[in-house]
Symmetry: D4
Subunit: 164 residues, 8 copies
Amino acid sequence: MNPKVLIIMGSDSDLPVMEETAKILGEFEIPYEMAISSAHRTPVRTLEIIKAAESKGAEVIIAGAGMAAHLPGVIASHTLLPVIGVPLEASSLNGLDALLSIVQMPPGIPVATVAVGKAGAKNAAILAAQIIARKDPKLTGRLSDHRKRMSEEVEEKAGKLQKQ
Amino acid sequence: MNPKVLIIMGSDSDLPVMEETAKILGEFEIPYEMAISSAHRTPVRTLEIIKAAESKGAEVIIAGAGMAAHLPGVIASHTLLPVIGVPLEASSLNGLDALLSIVQMPPGIPVATVAVGKAGAKNAAILAAQIIARKDPKLTGRLSDHRKRMSEEVEEKAGKLQKQ
Amino acid sequence: MNPKVLIIMGSDSDLPVMEETAKILGEFEIPYEMAISSAHRTPVRTLEIIKAAESKGAEVIIAGAGMAAHLPGVIASHTLLPVIGVPLEASSLNGLDALLSIVQMPPGIPVATVAVGKAGAKNAAILAAQIIARKDPKLTGRLSDHRKRMSEEVEEKAGKLQKQ
Amino acid sequence: MNPKVLIIMGSDSDLPVMEETAKILGEFEIPYEMAISSAHRTPVRTLEIIKAAESKGAEVIIAGAGMAAHLPGVIASHTLLPVIGVPLEASSLNGLDALLSIVQMPPGIPVATVAVGKAGAKNAAILAAQIIARKDPKLTGRLSDHRKRMSEEVEEKAGKLQKQ
Amino acid sequence: MNPKVLIIMGSDSDLPVMEETAKILGEFEIPYEMAISSAHRTPVRTLEIIKAAESKGAEVIIAGAGMAAHLPGVIASHTLLPVIGVPLEASSLNGLDALLSIVQMPPGIPVATVAVGKAGAKNAAILAAQIIARKDPKLTGRLSDHRKRMSEEVEEKAGKLQKQ
Amino acid sequence: MNPKVLIIMGSDSDLPVMEETAKILGEFEIPYEMAISSAHRTPVRTLEIIKAAESKGAEVIIAGAGMAAHLPGVIASHTLLPVIGVPLEASSLNGLDALLSIVQMPPGIPVATVAVGKAGAKNAAILAAQIIARKDPKLTGRLSDHRKRMSEEVEEKAGKLQKQ
Amino acid sequence: MNPKVLIIMGSDSDLPVMEETAKILGEFEIPYEMAISSAHRTPVRTLEIIKAAESKGAEVIIAGAGMAAHLPGVIASHTLLPVIGVPLEASSLNGLDALLSIVQMPPGIPVATVAVGKAGAKNAAILAAQIIARKDPKLTGRLSDHRKRMSEEVEEKAGKLQKQ
Amino acid sequence: MNPKVLIIMGSDSDLPVMEETAKILGEFEIPYEMAISSAHRTPVRTLEIIKAAESKGAEVIIAGAGMAAHLPGVIASHTLLPVIGVPLEASSLNGLDALLSIVQMPPGIPVATVAVGKAGAKNAAILAAQIIARKDPKLTGRLSDHRKRMSEEVEEKAGKLQKQ
């Protein structure tokens, strides 16, 4: 089945965080593809991956990057698909550099930015599911179930607290 | 025609910025609705507006807020629709407070965050169009035209520069 | 005895810090209740807990939260009780995100914010005691004793220094 | 009638902001007293004002200060009353210096910190009313009315928007 | 005469700052060319301008950009020429967003970053002159003269001070 | 021999850093006294220690403090001696809170601020020696020797590098 | 009479702020000298001015600088006199760049740093007076008088408030 | 063979980072020299090293420094060669102090600043190679090869990902 989401990251060191995205897309049964390509070190390859994903029918692109994190913005300038950017901690500046490099896009080319690090990687998957659910109503049901499970998990943990 | 996008903001002082969103949605011929409601001062009313928008068939919610900007996150916790958050400058801290309050959502409830202020308000509209284009291919054409116009504007300005 | 203070936090991972609050309330013999509920993942449950605490006679609510820390503000928008917010470190941004998300509340809905992390968790308990002491003069005596003990501890440590 | 709240600030240049506090206390019919005294330039006088306010029956102290804003913390170390700190913009650093100087109190001596500037000055008054309402139930009614008025104001502004 | 330096910026609103670069290059008699092209809105055009500049014999590229300032990094990934990045103030975040987006380049693709705004625009020209001087010794003399003039200007202003 | 310098800190947890100050004062043969006393928890004791130090002939006071670091400023408001403030890392905010709380003193009451942490603790001792050297010329010689030793240490380390 | 304090700044644009230093030194009847010289543009001249000031008997050097504010540190590395650094706002970064560039001196070469801008310029003069007072007891009296006047000014302004 | 690049750093603790620079210059077969000398502790020695490097034919100077990182700027004020500054993490402030102290040079004396830490140390070498390549075309070939190798490494890592 053709991938609906392309997960792309600048370096294999980003993989442990971006796998959180893959895991949640898997739970939603959304087919995805993962790629490693750098906006700066392999710019041509990056564009080829984007174009291939588009032609295979991708609906959303999720790009994780650290430092001067240009990958999500560069991709967004070459596609009309929604691009979700995940800022990663890859320098001493705690991911603030990546956050500002991704979210402060100038008018015309948006990047849908989520939180720094693992929380953002997870939320990128959920946001992608919310977007794809616009045309695939099955996903709305799964999103609703996912939210119920989260709610039950909070209640379960809260229950343990009260028994202490 | 039913609104496809709800633009909501916490205060009427946010209107001059959020009108940039409305203007661009208008250019894309995407029907929208604007509302003022505060996450903190009118929490019940906020939820009613969200529910009404959902039942009228909204596909995306765009929420602008300043300071401890909870509006986008609070809305996201009550809907399964994609929520786009626009951080606004409403305090002495230059919008950094709003940016962090919107983008740093904990795992489970994403907000698609764009840049602080007018640049973000414009990009929120384009991002909404990209999302709605998933099921409405006409929009892909309009997004493509919009991008061409932007490109031509840059070239026109560049042309003036060379004539100086 | 009915709880006078509700300590609420968004996740069980916040418990090791928020137990500092509980410990000091215990020293002041102020009955309290602890709850885990998320502003975003279990919004309805959060309101139910607040309403239950109010009806049992709570005087103060202490809410700890990290990242885009909306819990204290969301609670404050649904109660007239004083709400104390404890910003927690839950991301790479050192708790600055939580601090700004809690303290920068827009006009109308205050949150009494204390320091990031354990220092704040402790001070939240003392602040709650100072508030409840307004109608329960016994607490003023205990607050005065607590301060004397702190002062003696400083002197004792200082004494050890001089003997070195 | 004896003041229930002491509003104190370090400099007469803080008056235009701190008058927002006074105005809202007035709306709540809470008697208050205003004083100017610096933690650094008039430390003895500051303590005398605190002691006098205590002996006249003050329930809450609200202290506004800018830069290395020590006034709220210094007062808190000399009283058992709840102290609310309002960080003010008084340097090029946008009030971030005052915010950190007020909120980051070490364990033992809390300061209930509110937002930087006018938003915080207003919220300090509401928080004081919430605290005093613990023993004066009339205030709970006024707080409830105030919140209703805020809600109506939002609705009124929203109504104007829809008529445009 | 073929341009030795390409000055490129993302928007015509950057022109008033980047003209400082042009002015100083003019003083050094270094032929230059100015272009407006956006990394995001006109990515293809940007690469064409870079390739054209290379083929005309450019030695250095100076790129000014604000917000999520990707232009210098994107150019650097497509050329082996030294690229100087000038962070510009184009949002509420005072140019800190642009600074981090330009300077925090990941290993492999450097951008020689200078100060935010006009100071940086001037220094970009001097740095370009220092680089070109490696093969054009005439420029070393002009750089030395420029530095002498700066020194004399300081002395002249200091002289006026003493006469007051 | 009476202490010429009082080293004071708010907590015994600050001792490992502030011992760097003591060590360098020892190298300069400047008699000193160490004390632990908190601006907030033991305000009266703090003033007594300051007055005692003054009456014993102290020339300089060095105060180390973390978080909302009021100790140096509070001391400075009660003495005419020069006060040196050492910001300490005592929270998640990396000492930035302490730095701003110490350095941003309002006009009238200066605190001579040095770097955050051990570098600052060392420099506080050297600065105290430079101040005391104004009336004790022997110290100028020792400062000069100290600087020579530093210079020799750098050269020695550099020498090892060249032999590699 | 020979100057006891050298006030030096990097640019004549710093003069309006640094004149605050001169004014207060004048009130203390401390002879001073003002100079303009840049650490970077006129490094040799800067050292000559320092050496001349030392030989004329200066006791303290006050250096004001903005941006990457190296002037105070460079001077401190060439003299054994106490050097006071005044961070100035000279870029879009609100003086935070200058503050960190001055205060974060590595171990060995302290700079006594005061607040950013006019508050710091005033406090630099008072700190210089406190240092010189170590050997000139007349100054202690003037410092005491100055503090009394400040205290009276606060009381006078407070008095006006009460009459309103 | 005479060194074309001088790598200089303020302390031997900077060596593990700055060796990354040396390693990459070695790969480019660019002869270099390493030196340890402090802008503040050994200012005279620093200038002597610069002058010696110039007379031996150095084309570029790379200076690494932490905290109030003056070394690159001080060197730049004494040479007409291009100076590359590498900000290092040497305090609790994550290298932000060093970054601002290096990049925010006032107009007239540029420092080509790269990223904080190891990423910057590596990029400093590549930038130096790009500068020297202006007169030594062999280096352009090696830069091109280096970029190809980087690209191949990315592809190889990406390949491993796909095989998982």
